[in-house]
Amino acid sequence: MNEKGANIDLLFRNGLKDYEVLPPAGVWEGIHPVIKIKSKPVILLRVAAAITVLVSVSLLTFKWSRDISNLPSADMMAFNIPESSPLISVPVNNYQYLPVRKSDQVKNTPHVIIEKDISVPQEIESISTPEQVTYVKETKSLSIENGETNTGTFLTPSISTGVNQTKIKYSDLYFTDNTTTKPKNRWSIAAMASPTYLSSFNSGSDGLSKELTASEQSLISYSGGVAFSYKISKRFIIQSGLYYSSLGQKVDGINSFSGFQPYGTITKGDHNFEVLTTNGTVYTNNPDVFLSANGADRIVTAYTNDVFDPKKASLQPVSTSLDQNFKYLEFPVVLKYKLIDKTIGINLIGGLSYNLLVSNSVSTTVDGNKYSIGKTQGLNPLTLSSSLGMGMEYNLSGKLSLNLEPTFRYYLNPFSVSTGSFIHPYSFGIFSGVSYKF
């Protein structure tokens, strides 16, 4: 009986060793949601690692750009005003300056305008198509050619191949990777937003340009909008859309006072003061504002310190800096290349953007309130910028994904025509948002 028993064991063991049966449809659908949750900590770690890498690369890029701004150059700065020429004797745009009107009466009430804060919209991106994997099952026939048995302890039969004399005609090939990628969900819409850091470097070497650059700091600005993407191929995506961005910088060393209206007589066009900045010349349009600079010849006015002293006139000090803001509508055309196209995708992003100036303002901030000063004149109504970035995409589902895109943007032409080509603005932002494929 033992031999017969072993025989029957052998028959079944070898007969079923490589047997395959296609499982019913829908089993994977029951498995996948469960294992997705289980693998979440690993995904989070990968996301954290990817963010760390992207932020590091971006910061290095930013630092590199800052270093470039300090390189010496023999070129002249657009704002280079000879020291021998007093500002009052070199009126800009042939404006006529009037002497200050003397008066003993002082008005200490600030005459100001409060601006509203900026709202932030959002933007988007695209996904990949899941691969479909099929496989082929082959059936087998078997026969035992002799009665020799193997009564020893068996190993797991799926590992070893035929040890005994049993011959089984059976193909090991049971899987054919007929991977096909169907081009679906080519379109996607995304809403994205980013805090933006604006700065610039200049290639001028004169003292004034250096001083201007040194006194200017970026204001944390915002950019956001809606983007449409079209998947050209498995790796390439073209994207366009409409963004609204608010960029700004803070100009230190400019003292502003209120209560100047009784003393000032606007005869120089519509402004009393002009302030030189790297992104253009600020013209005041608030007649109640008096401006003075700590050093350098960056304020052009008839009311210089030798003809008007704000302290003697008891003007109300407001602030020691100005905030320059520029608002643009952006029309980007961006090409994305998918470096990694998995649950977490990594993209290389590069493209151009046309930026239409929609408004600009100069203000100063006191106790959280903004007081209007004027506007920046001579700004280019249309600027062109190039962008380079790395995008990270985490697919929440087949259609929905989260996006993170640290992006460096370099403006091919300066914001202001008056600054010539010596000022090179750039910005850095980390865009984040959600995209939906359809």
Partner: protein
């Protein structure tokens, strides 16, 4: 890096496509195992599903020692056993010497013509308690001592169940091949 290692790496990183690829590549073989251990297709499907969930959950425990397919198969078998333990109780046979096997197996039995799906059909007709022991002993290669611990029975019961299973299988194989030959001759 071998292909399976790449797939495993992707699975551990939560890559959906690698997970699906792993499933697609091994589901058919493991489903056949599930069918061996289950009495009906619904139960086999449940075992396959639960088995794969355990496989993915324990992927980081796989040390790349031995066959990955064997590792998956063991998990699947254990899942089947868990299901079996929760639903069935094996009858205890205290004295295996009292078992009188009916030696009715045809002499010089010729198994030619039997295909794998025939064998699967025959094995699935066994009573659950016999099917479990036969599978673990004859197919997986476990000893009676190991089987006694796995299915919570005595070694004697394991031997008894195996013996009875063999008798039933020999009869059915015999009658099955007979029928097949008859059909072939006709």
């Amino acid at each position: 890096m071998s292909e399976i290692k790449k797939i495993l790496k992707g699975c551990l990183a939560g890559d959906r496509r690698d997970q699906e690829l792993l499933y697609r590549r091994h589901a058919a073989k493991l489903y056949a195992v599930c069918l061996q251990y289950s009495g009906n297709d619904e139960e086999a499907r449940d075992i396959l599903q639960e088995g794969f969930i355990k496989i993915f959950a324990n992927l980081d425990n796989y040390k790349h020692e031995g066959s990955f397919e064997g590792w998956m198969r063991r998990i699947t078998v254990n899942t089947a056993l868990e299901k079996f333990r929760s639903r069935h109780n094996l009858y205890r046979v205290d004295d295996i010497d009292t078992i009188q096997e009916q030696d009715s197996e045809p002499e010089n039995q010729d198994y030619a013509g039997l295909e794998a799906n025939d064998l699967l059909g025959i094995i699935r007709e066994l009573p659950t308690k016999y099917r479990m022991v036969f599978n673990l002993y004859a197919i997986e290669g476990y000893s009676h001592k190991e089987i006694s611990k796995m299915v919570n029975i005595s070694e004697g019961t394991s031997k008894s169940n195996l013996s009875r299973a063999r008798v039933i299988l020999q009869r059915r194989v015999g009658s099955y091949t007979g029928i097949k030959k008859k059909v072939a001759n006709e």
